[in-house]
C-alpha cells in the first residue's frame, strides 16, 4: 500500500513561513482534499510532496520511502498553473513526459494512445499543442498526469475551464483511480467539488492546519444547524426571525431560503413560525452547514458551533 505521510513539515522563504509544522496522512483508495485560501501554503506543500522543493523541517514519505527522484516516478502532478510545450506535437509531448517518469518510449506511446482514445482524441496525437483549444490542452495535461500509471495523484483545480461533459469524464476517471486503490490529493477552491469527491479534508490557512479529518466527521463537528426551506407565499417571517437574532440568512430567493440557526433557536421554533405565515410549505430540511461555510468560519478562526456551549460550561 502507498500512503502519503507528511510529518511536522515546515517551509520558509526568507523570513516568511509558507508552511508551518503541518502533518497529515493520505490513505490509498481515498481522495484527500487540500483546501485553503490563496497563499495559504497549499502549493508550497504540494511542491514538497512532489520533491520540487524540500522541507526545512519535518519529513514526507510515500509508501514508507522518503520522497525523492524515486517517488517522483510514482507520482502524477497536475499543477493549477499548467502548460505544455506549444510547438510540440501532442503525441511527442506525452511520450516525452512519460519518459521523464521513467517509461520506455514504447510503453509511453501505448499509454498515450490508450488515453487519447478514452478522451475521443485519437487524431490529436499529430497536432501541435498551439492548434488545440484550451479545453483540449487541459485534457492533454490530464493525460500527461496519469500516463505513467502513478500510485499517487495530485490534482490542483483539475476541472477549471472544462465544460460539464469533460468535467464529468474527468471525475469518472478520478473515481476509477480511487477504486483502483490509488492515493489521490485534490486541491480546490470549489467547495461543491470537494464535497462531492473528497473522503478526507485538510484545511490550511497562513501555513497552519485549521481543520483536518474525514469530511463527514468535520461536517458533523459543525452540527446540524443549517435549514433549507421551500415554500409559497409571504416570506416576511424570515425578516422577523433575523431581526430577533434567531437565524442568519445565507441565501434567499423567491420561495427558497437557506439559513443558519443561531443561539438556542431550534428547528421546531422556526418551522412553527414559518407555518403561521406561508401559504404552503414544500420542504423543510435541517442539515450540516455546506463546506463553503465551514471553510469561511474555519479560516476566520471560528470554532465549530457545538463546541461553544461545551467550552462555556
Amino acid at each position: 500500500m502507498h500512503p502519503l505521510v507528511v510529518e511536522n513539515v515546515t517551509k520558509r522563504y526568507g523570513s516568511f513561513t509558507a508552511v508551518d509544522d503541518v502533518s497529515f496522512a493520505a490513505a490509498p483508495g481515498r481522495i484527500f482534499g487540500v483546501l485553503g485560501p490563496n497563499g495559504a501554503g497549499k502549493t508550497s506543500t504540494i511542491r514538497m510532496i512532489t520533491f520540487i522543493t524540500t522541507p526545512d523541517e519535518g519529513r514526507i514519505t510515500f509508501g514508507g520511502q522518503a520522497v525523492g527522484p524515486e517517488t517522483q516516478r510514482r507520482m502524477g502532478y497536475l499543477p493549477e498553473e499548467r502548460g505544455l510545450y506549444r510547438k510540440m506535437k501532442v503525441g511527442e509531448q506525452l511520450v516525452y513526459l512519460g519518459q521523464l517518469k521513467g517509461m520506455t518510449t514504447a510503453a509511453a506511446r501505448d499509454a498515450a494512445r490508450r488515453w487519447l482514445d478514452r478522451f475521443g482524441a485519437r487524431d490529436w496525437a499529430a497536432k501541435r499543442v498551439d492548434e488545440l483549444s484550451k479545453g483540449m490542452q487541459q485534457k492533454v495535461q490530464f493525460i500527461a498526469t496519469i500516463l505513467h500509471d502513478p500510485q499517487l495523484l495530485i490534482f490542483d483545480e483539475p476541472f477549471s475551464g472544462l465544460d460539464p461533459i469533460n468535467a464529468a469524464l474527468l471525475r469518472d476517471i478520478i473515481l476509477e483511480l480511487r477504486a483502483e486503490g490509488r492515493t489521490i490529493l485534490f486541491a480546490s477552491h470549489r467547495m461543491e467539488q470537494v464535497e462531492q469527491l473528497c473522503d478526507d479534508i485538510f484545511l490550511i490557512a497562513n501555513g497552519r492546519e485549521v481543520l483536518h479529518g474525514p469530511l463527514r466527521d468535520v461536517k458533523r463537528s459543525f452540527g446540524k444547524n443549517t435549514v433549507t426551506v421551500e415554500f409559497s407565499g409571504d416570506d416576511g417571517f424570515l425578516d422577523k426571525l433575523e431581526e430577533r437574532g434567531a437565524i442568519r440568512l445565507r441565501s434567499r430567493t423567491a420561495g427558497h431560503a437557506e439559513f443558519r440557526l443561531l443561539g438556542e433557536t431550534t428547528a421546531r421554533q422556526v418551522l412553527e413560525t414559518a407555518l403561521t405565515r406561508v401559504d404552503d410549505l414544500y420542504r423543510f430540511e435541517l442539515n450540516e452547514p455546506p463546506l463553503s461555510e465551514i471553510f469561511v468560519m474555519a479560516v476566520n478562526g471560528q470554532r465549530p458551533e457545538p463546541a461553544e456551549p461545551e467550552l462555556a460550561r
Binding site: T50, I52, P69, Q72, P79, E81, R82, M88, Y96, A144
Partner: protein, 432 residues
C-alpha cells in the same frame, strides 16, 4: 537513459526538426559571405578612388620627373612651375589633390620634402608617398656618389617576404595571414556562437517558465537535470549546425577551387611565383582547402567552442530562470555580456601578436579563453602547457558557473510576479 539525456534529446530534436533550424543553417553562411563581400568591396572601392592629381614643384632640377614616374599608379603627377599660392588655390578649389615641394637642399639632406593637401589623405597614402620620395632621393644620392647601375638596380628591386609556417603534415604552407585570418574567423565564430546559442538556452528556459510547463517537468526531474539537459541539447544543436556548415564550406570551396583553378593559368602562376614579380596573387588557390588546416586546430576549436558555450550557456539558463519575458532579461545579462564582448575587442591585437605576454595571459583567463586561445592556436604554435592550463581553468570555471547557475535556476523557475534583481539572485544562491 538518464533524465538529463532524455531532456537533452528532446530539446535537440525539437529544435533540429524545426523550420528555423533549417533556415538558419542555410541562411547564416549566405549572410556571412554577403557580409565579407560587402566589406571586401568597400575596401576595394576606397582603394581605387580614382587617380589622385598631384603637382610637383621641383627646386632640385632632377627629382621632379623621376618622382612623377615613380609614384604609384593611382597618382597622376606633373611637374609644374606655377607659383605656390596658385597651386594652393587649385587644391582648395578641388582641381588638385595636393602638391609636393622638393626644396633644393633635399638631395644633400639639408631640407625635407613637403606635401600639401586639403586633408591628410589617410595613413596608407602617407606611407606610399614617403616611400616614393625616399626611393627617388636615395637613387639620386647614390648616383651622385657614383654608384654603378647594377648597384642601383639591386638597391631598387622589390623585397617581398614570404611567410611560411610548418603544418603538422610537414609540408610548408604559405601565408601566415591565412592562419591569422582563420584564427580571427574562428574566434569571431565562437564569439557569435556563444551569443546565439546562449540566447537560445535563455529563451528556452523563459518559454518553459511562461508556458508553466516547468512545474510539471520539475515534478519529474531535478532542476539540475533540467538545466543541464537543456544546455547539452542546445549545445548539440550548435555542434550539428557547425558540422553542417563545415560540410557546406568544403563543398563550396571545392566548387570555388574548381572555378578559380579553371580561370587562372597554372603556368603564369608558377612564373609569378619564381619571379616574385608584379602579378603575384594575394594567395595561392591551392591553399583554399581545409586539408591544410591542422587537425589539432579543428579539435581545439570544437573544445573551446564547447567549453565556452557550457560556461556561458548555464549562466544564460540562470538568467532565463529569473525572468518571465525576454525583455526583462536585458539588465541581468550585462555581467555575462561584458566578459564575452571584452575578448572580442582584444581579438585584433591577439591575432597580430599571438605570442606577446599579454596575449598569453589573456588566453588563459577562462571567460576569455574560448575566443582568444583559438585565435592564438591558429596564429602561432601555442605551447602544450598553455593549452592544457587554459582548458583546465576553463573546466574549473565551468564547474563553478554550473554550480552557481543551478542554484539560481532551481529557485528562479518557480518564481513568478516580481522582477528579480541581482540582490534576489544572490539570495537564491545562498538559500537554494
Amino acid at each position: 537513459m538518464n533524465k538529463t539525456a532524455i531532456i537533452a534529446r528532446s530539446e535537440y530534436l525539437r529544435r533540429v526538426k524545426s523550420k528555423m533550424f533549417l533556415v538558419s543553417t542555410f541562411l547564416a553562411p549566405v549572410m556571412l559571405i554577403a557580409l565579407f563581400g560587402v566589406s571586401i568591396s568597400v575596401a576595394l572601392l576606397t582603394q581605387d578612388g580614382g587617380a589622385r592629381r598631384i603637382a610637383i614643384v621641383d627646386e632640385t632640377g632632377v627629382l621632379g620627373e623621376r618622382l612623377a614616374e615613380h609614384l604609384p599608379e593611382n597618382y597622376a603627377a606633373a611637374v609644374e612651375s606655377a607659383p605656390l599660392d596658385s597651386l594652393r588655390a587649385r587644391v582648395e578649389r578641388g582641381a588638385l589633390d595636393g602638391y609636393f615641394v622638393l626644396p633644393g637642399g633635399l638631395l644633400t639632406g639639408e631640407a625635407a620634402a613637403t606635401f600639401y593637401s586639403a586633408g591628410g589623405g589617410g595613413f596608407s597614402s602617407q606611407i606610399r608617398l614617403e616611400s616614393a620620395v625616399g626611393d627617388v632621393v636615395r637613387r639620386a644620392r647614390l648616383e651622385a656618389a657614383g654608384a654603378p647601375p647594377e648597384l642601383l638596380d639591386a638597391a631598387e628591386s622589390d623585397v617581398s617576404v614570404r611567410m611560411v609556417a610548418f603544418t603538422e603534415t610537414g609540408e610548408a604552407a604559405d601565408a601566415a595571414w591565412l592562419y591569422a585570418g582563420l584564427g580571427y574567423a574562428m574566434g569571431f565564430i565562437i564569439y557569435v556562437a556563444m551569443f546565439v546559442y546562449g540566447a537560445m538556452v535563455m529563451r528556452g528556459v523563459i518559454e518553459e517558465k511562461t508556458n508553466r510547463i516547468v512545474e510539471i517537468v520539475a515534478s519529474s526531474a531535478r532542476p539540475f537535470e533540467l538545466m543541464m539537459g537543456k544546455v547539452l541539447g542546445i549545445g548539440a544543436v550548435g555542434l550539428t549546425q557547425f558540422v553542417l556548415w563545415i560540410v557546406l564550406a568544403l563543398a563550396g570551396l571545392a566548387v570555388f577551387g574548381a572555378v578559380v583553378g579553371g580561370m587562372v593559368d597554372p603556368a603564369s602562376l608558377a612564373g609569378a611565383d619564381t619571379l616574385g614579380g608584379a602579378e603575384e596573387l594575394p594567395f595561392d588557390p591551392s591553399l583554399l582547402s581545409l586539408s591544410s588546416v591542422p587537425f589539432s586546430l579543428v579539435v581545439y576549436f570544437l573544445l573551446f567552442f564547447l567549453g565556452g558555450y557550457l560556461l556561458y550557456g548555464s549562466l544564460f539558463a540562470a538568467i532565463g530562470s529569473a525572468v518571465e519575458q525576454e525583455s526583462d532579461a536585458q539588465s541581468l545579462q550585462m555581467p555575462i555580456l561584458i566578459p564575452v564582448i571584452l575578448p572580442a575587442l582584444f581579438l585584433p591585437f591577439i591575432a597580430d601578436n599571438p605570442d606577446a605576454p599579454a596575449s598569453v595571459v589573456l588566453s588563459l583567463v577562462p571567460f576569455f579563453s574560448p575566443i582568444l586561445m583559438v585565435v592564438r592556436a591558429a596564429a602561432t604554435a601555442v605551447p602544450f602547457w598553455q593549452m592544457a592550463l587554459s582548458l583546465v581553468l576553463l573546466a574549473l570555471a565551468f564547474v563553478g558557473t554550473i554550480w552557481l547557475a543551478s542554484r539560481i535556476y532551481r529557485v528562479g523557475i518557480l518564481m513568478y510576479g516580481k522582477k528579480a534583481t541581482f540582490r534576489d539572485l544572490a539570495r537564491w544562491v545562498r538559500t537554494a
